[in-house]
Amino acid sequence: MLICENLSFSIDGHKLFSNIDFKIKKEKDLLITGPSGIGKTTLLSVLCGLQIPTEGSIRYNDISLYSLSENKIDEFRGKQLGIVFQSFNLINAFTIKQNLQIANTAEGSQDTDHLYDLLERVGLADKSHIKVSNLSIGEKQRVAVARAFIGQPKWIFCDEPTSSLDDKNTDIITNLIKEESLRHKASLILITHDKRVQSILNFNEILRLGEVL
């Protein structure tokens, strides 16, 4: 279970969001929505341990995230969380395969067989040797999704995964995220304005940031 209590975040004295409380049970999903600039991406960073909240706590089952040391937070993120960033955050100088391998290494696994299965499922097995910088936006998004599911994560965070995709690719990526999260029995926490995504994914919980504020 993911429990957020009284979560607030300020930048230079300006409150971006405050007093956010929610719970997500195992294998349940959460949609985070709200107007631009309200702090959705920052909230995602805070949930993933990339940015320390000004106030509040985050607990993954029995683990209080920000009571851990920074190194333990990094290790926890590598093993328990999968993140699909809005800007993909892939290593452009690496091939698709190398991007997945480095994530596999970070997670601490030596076994690479499952990487090929994953590439097969996202439809990039025949392009695994191609550098990420040479891929289309849709292909990069698929690599980012594949990478997020390495290491059997229990929580998947996606930040606007379809913001720059056409309808066809939106369907592909959204279904991919849905299938993989079901396959891994992972909870999905997703930020999107995209009604197409919301129609495909059946969210158990919706957090409207503007309303909270």
């Binding site: 960073s45 993933c48 990339l50 940015q51 920074e70 190194n71 990094d74 290790e75 993120r77 590598g78 093993k79 993140i83 960033f85 800007s87 955050n89 892939l90 290593i91 100088a93 480095i102 994530a103 970070a106 997670e107 990478r147």
Partner: protein
């Protein structure tokens, strides 16, 4: 890095081995007496066999000096010929005792024109027991040979690690015999000459008085080997220091190069390093990756430099006169080289820490946002 360490290694090797060689070549002799001229030249020619002799002195006077109350013992030497650039030294058997020389094979000379040869001479010239060879006039091979009177090899000495390894030793009579057309001249001892007299005092109180006695009252000169060699090192020390400073500057520049390369790499890859953090790489792990990267460059560079410096030195040793007349393969320098390498690695480590700390302090979120 490679160039800097190569020069440092070469400089240390040449310096250490030259010093060691000059030390080992002198079997604790206190003074050398020879013809007037440069005292350094006398020492270099009669003990280290590098320079040409200052001239000859009367054997009769030499014998008188050897009987002087201040002298414990003396060894006369007579130079003048060579075989393939290896000097032929006419002397008596005490000369070999100075270096604790032992025969590897064969026997000592008993008759004129018999010789024993040093181990390097045997290796390089392929001379063997019972083989004959003809000396050339002078101290370098000019082709002006004494073909009428060849030498016979009767013994080969064990390696001593001194100049003795590069010498051909024979009796004084052999040298006198070769340089006189009249056999009866051997009977006229008044006209016999030697090149120098190697002497040891009975006690150290004669250090000042005996040379003064020789220099003031005779047509000969007395020179202290230790004093002259230390003067030589003072003269050449300046050039050696310049080479050392130069190599320190080059190594410092290579440290700066490593530092800027790593900083530049980190700057270019800060986005990728931040991605690694999002994937679960800890700060310590990334710190280690950058440190290993920098230290690999340093270790490889300095190791290659060490090997190259040693190879260049070995080439110099083999091909040059340095190899023939000075260096005889001591290994005492290794300790100093290892210390230098160790110091270089410590400085490399400290240099690499700067970019590592920069990475350690990196804010992932800001880096990802800024890129």
């Amino acid at each position: 890095m490679i160039l800097g360490v190569t020069i440092i290694t070469l400089s240390v090797l040449v310096n250490q081995i030259t010093k060691n060689t000059f030390t080992k070549n002198n079997p604790n002799l206190d003074v050398v007496v020879g013809a007037k001229g440069s005292p350094l030249q006398l020492v270099l020619s009669s003990i280290h066999h590098i320079d040409i002799p200052t001239g000859n002195i009367s054997y009769k006077n030499a014998k008188k000096i050897m009987k002087h109350p201040a002298i414990k013992f003396g060894v006369p030497i007579s130079l003048g010929d060579n075989f393939q650039n290896y000097r032929i030294v006419g002397t008596d058997k005490k000369f070999l005792k100075l270096y604790d020389a032992e025969l590897e094979i064969g026997s000592m000379w008993e008759k004129p024109m018999q010789s024993v040869i040093g181990s390097n001479v045997a290796n390089f010239t392929k001379l063997k027991i019972d083989k004959f060879f003809v000396g050339s006039h002078g101290l370098i091979d000019t082709g002006d040979i004494h073909s009428e009177q060849p030498y016979k090899v009767v013994g080969i000495l064990k390696k001593t690690g001194t100049i003795l390894d590069n010498l051909i030793i024979t009796s004084l009579n052999s040298v006198w015999n070769l340089h006189s057309n009249q056999n009866d001249i051997l009977k006229k001892s008044d006209s016999l000459e030697v090149t120098a007299l190697l002497l040891k005092y009975k006690n150290k109180t004669s250090v000042f008085s005996f040379p003064r006695l020789i220099n003031k009252n005779t047509s000969m000169q007395a020179a202290s080997p230790n004093l002259e060699i230390s003067k030589l090192f003072k003269l050449t020390g300046g050039a050696h220091k310049i080479i050392n400073y130069l190599s320190i500057i080059i190594v410092s520049l290579s440290f700066a190069g490593i530092l800027f390369t790593l900083l530049n790499n980190i700057n270019e890859r800060k986005y990728d390093l931040a991605i690694l953090r999002t994937l679960g790489f800890t700060r310590e792990r990334i710190f280690s990756i950058i440190l290993i990267e920098g230290m690999t460059i340093s270790i490889l560079g300095s190791f290659i430099g060490l090997i190259l410096g040693s190879i260049v030195y070995k080439c110099i040793e083999f091909f040059s006169l340095l190899g023939r007349n000075i260096v005889t393969g001591q290994l005492d320098f290794i300790y100093e080289i290892l210390i230098i390498w160790f110091v270089i690695l410590i400085i490399s480590f400290l240099t690499c820490l700067i970019p590592c700390i920069k990475v350690y302090k990196q804010n992932i979120r800001n880096t990802l946002l800024n890129s």
